[in-house]
Point group: D2
Chain length 136, copies 4
């Protein structure tokens, strides 16, 4: 499990005074990037070196409590599923100050080549991500 | 069922050349607003006149195909569930030019007062939204 | 002069209850796209058919009054400068309901090829944009 | 001068493969927040405790080179002008890896009360910000 950290900016809030719901999916992406980096890789390298993409095919978020301007958020991310040509990340977002649970989410990713066709996840990714897969 | 229409701007795309996944949730919100208006109300009025809010408690999107810059999108929205103090909207996004199905989504909303506590959906909303509820 | 029209969504507002300042630059881009279309072209075609890009090299906005959720905005755009390898658009944003002036802005664009080097604006663009240039 | 640091996410890029021009204004805001914090204050406190707001009345950015996905950016911010009821911040954005200059910008802020009327900048802000003002 990797934990990314960010501070909510004004531009992420809406007139209800809380983080706009769509922005959590941006936070999820930021955490995914940190995840790859923490494992010694990078998503940028997956695209450039492997010529592969991991587009989101399903995304979900359940909102439990609101984040506000200037809150520091902790976005925990882990691999929750690893199949031949797809994978899923699970997310938990907490507020740092009081450890309040703000939301939980999931994104499912296909592994595709430049032509958009499904491709088996390369060993380089599986070996990195597999290590952190929770035991079945 | 109400259909909102919008054209994808450059700022909504990402370096994969397609609409960034989080932006569909913005499109969903735009369509919800059109929905209220088409029914003779407005979400702004719900907040101002009723003192009620309909925050998103669950959001989901399944991505089927990609939208690109300059594509015109049709976002179809309908009420899919109406309970005492919550409701859900379902969305279908099509590209206008070829009617390709781009994604389907859902948002679930609580009805809360200014203090954040659950409140029964007022008659003014139910009467408007109930009319369009698909038969159970 | 071309006039684009859009309705402010919740996601464009911030906790001050008004449109977040950066979002006007997104509105400017939407208006630029409408401008090309109104002139019988499209910016997408400039990129695809001419292999040219018009990246922003300077952007500015002066804010006069605030836009709020659900406001309908009119974004007026015109070409304010046309040089050999660059051009500028000027913007005026009004609220439709009371014609209040919300902001004025400008974007300056270089004309570059795929390699990022400056290229003379092609006749196809000049002929379209030149027509609408205000007399010097 | 304060230096904020952030990594470009996918959602900040556009189909040209670079950071979308409007997003730099979000980065500027992030850096402003860091600035207040580095000076022992917080913009959130200005709003809450002083009942004052510092809305942007003018914003500008000149783009020199492009930032790409996964780039780490350094956003340098300093106070460039301090008047009775307004102030300005200047920004310089560099890429961390090669110190390339990406853009320079400025935002001008009015100081207003809850009613939107201009108010003199309070001593608490001036004393904090004045210290860092470059000599005239």
């Amino acid at each position: 499990m990797i934990e990314a950290r960010l501070r909510v900016i004004y531009g992420d809030t809406d007139q209800m005074g809380v983080v706009y719901y769509a922005n959590y999916f941006r936070y999820f992406e930021l955490a995914r990037g940190e995840f790859f980096r923490a494992k010694g890789g990078s998503y940028a390298a997956v695209e450039k070196e492997e010529g592969l993409f991991l587009p989101v095919v399903d995304a979900r978020c359940q909102y439990k409590a609101s984040a506000r301007y200037d809150d520091v958020l902790l976005i925990r991310v882990e691999v929750t599923r690893l199949k031949r040509a797809s994978m899923a990340f699970g997310y938990t977002v907490l507020r740092e100050s009081d450890r309040a649970l703000l939301c939980v989410g999931e994104t499912v990713h296909a592994c595709v080549g430049k032509d958009g066709r499904p491709v088996a996840l390369p060993k380089s990714i599986v070996s990195v991500l597999g290590e952190v897969l929770p035991p079945a």
